[in-house]
Symmetry: C2
């Protein structure tokens, strides 16, 4: 139960100076083998643990990454987190993690607290509307590296990006549904009034409709936080619409899985009575019955690349990665039932 153990105590025990202990730990080649051994032994006997934060302060560097996700309880962001962690372990970095819950005020406070911890870089899962300027400023002042993930590069931002084209992918999915003969297509989509990737998905949907000459109907577009419950509730409403959609694009797999449940509860067959499509290709998507047609996103890879980019030295050029996001056709979507529409 010794109270405070520092390098000085190790130095005393090993009969060397403080500086020598430091050298023995970081560059043993600059110290005689016997001294290194004495220090190692003293360290072990005392149970000394190196203080990395003190070291970082003195060196004026940081080996901590700050990561912000909307919520840790979504397995999708968990995958990205996982990807980040596989890369940081080797690089000697640790990960400070927090969740924003799509709240701009909360996000700002969390960014502030991560900056106070002097993180080397900030990995942000999108930037909530209203915070772009602050993030922009941080990136410009180069106090910290900024990596935005899950979004396509925003040309005027000075941050790095690791994402994919949300709009393009959503357009592709909507077009696929149209090709199947659907013209009444509902949309359940994330908080587009707060985050860009949700808005881009909405945009993609819109554009596809427009190209096909299908009028946009706000009545069958539902904005919801990506969650099972929300998907179920939104689907329920859509299916109670007097002019019920024959297909529903739930632009997040959690929403889609919720939607499948709603359809089942109402006795509707999928895709017989209504087609359901998701977005993200969470692992669980292909385990649904029917398996979910969705957009494949490599959440894990996003994390890996983001971590690599984040760990680069301050002042390194920004990087932009645009990954693939492909349509994966499974069993939850099918041709419109003859006479099903209208």
């Amino acid at each position: 139960m010794r109270s405070k153990l520092n390098m000085r105590e190790v130095a005393q025990k090993a009969n060397v100076s403080l500086a020598t202990v430091s050298r023995a730990m970081h560059s043993p080649d600059k110290v005689s083998a016997s001294t290194v051994e004495r220090v190692r032994k003293a360290t072990e006997e005392l149970g000394y643990v190196y203080n990395a934060t003190a070291g970082d302060i003195l060196r004026g560097r940081s080996t901590v990454l700050g990561v912000l996700v909307p919520t840790a309880s979504n397995a999708l962001f968990g995958e990205t987190l996982h990807g980040i962690q596989t890369m940081t372990v080797g690089g000697g970095y640790s990960v400070l993690q927090a969740a924003t819950h799509y709240d701009a005020d909360g996000e700002e406070a969390l960014i502030e607290s991560l900056l106070q911890r002097r993180v080397h870089a900030l990995i942000l899962t999108g930037v909530t509307y209203g915070l772009e300027e602050r993030v922009e400023q941080l990136a410009r002042e180069a106090r910290v590296r900024i990596v935005v993930v899950w979004e396509l590069p925003k040309p005027d931002m000075t941050a790095s990006y690791v994402g994919f084209d949300n709009m393009e992918a959503a357009r592709r999915m909507t077009e696929y549904l149209i090709e199947l003969g659907h013209r009444r297509i509902g949309l359940i989509v994330g908080p587009f009034s707060k985050i860009a990737r949700a808005r881009h998905r909405l945009e993609g949907y819109r554009i596809a409709l427009e190209r096909a000459g299908i009028p946009f109907d706000a009545d069958i577009v539902k904005e919801r936080s990506p969650g099972l419950l929300e998907g179920r509730e939104a689907m329920d409403r859509l299916m109670r619409n007097e002019d019920r959609p024959t297909a529903v694009f739930a632009a997040s797999d959690l929403l889609a899985i919720g939607a499948l449940k709603a359809a089942r509860s109402m006795g509707l067959s999928v895709p017989g009575d209504v087609s359901v499509a998701g977005f993200d290709d969470m692992e669980v998507a292909s385990y649904q019955d029917p398996p979910l047609t969705t957009i494949r996103v490599d959440a894990y890879k996003i994390g890996q690349i983001a971590a690599q980019t984040a760990m680069e030295p301050l002042g390194s050029p920004t990087r932009n990665y645009c990954l693939d996001a492909d349509l994966v056709i499974r069993g939850s979507t099918g041709p419109i039932k003859p006479g099903g529409g209208r």
Copy 2:
């Protein structure tokens, strides 16, 4: 692009001493209002951000919690993480997070790196076999608070625990299946050779069989990492057993969802041909078709309580919380089909 910004620069700009800046930030009531305002202004104009790590060092305290989960990509541990984060935000703590992947060596290295960051406490999702002694030692030396979650208190450990009775819950589930008439019950269970909670679930299963006079058959017990793929593969094997189980207890919902998929792929109806039960009650469990019979665990609450316990001052008494874990009966289990067995 100014390089290094510290309190001293703020002091200069505000024409006060370094100490006054510190006071103005932490206890503004001890400084005149006009000075506080001058400091605030200088801080803002320079874009100064307080360095919390330096502060922590000097105060000899820490406001960081270290959290180790098996993997971040499992939504279940994501829930616990989520619970932890809701509590830490208010308390001014940050969360350093890492994943062990059920690997003892990796876990040891991660614990070491968290200790080097001088975390106030360590929240561990179980302790991999082979590491108990090290963790025990850490707790005894009181360098850091240790909170083990998802496990029932181990009487001889000096750490705190926030968990539930895994054995009891598994026994209860197995008994329920037996009550339904099943006597040939397969088990798919987590890495019991590495982590206690998986072993306890195995034990519970064993005890229930024993009480019912059903012989234990290692052929229909599969040890797998909790994952969808693993559950599917294990179920597939179980169903190819010449004396096929009429019920399968997958002691983790992910395994169970994988098992459901395997059954579907083989054209088996659940629960008609085979009953499937899970464990954990992940949110997605009730969204399956059929909805999963499982054990309800409040992963979120575990996180909340763990965080509270972890944030208590060093030297506070250890705490033990045993939460409920109840049987939730849904559609994936049913009575044995007459003539189905043997």
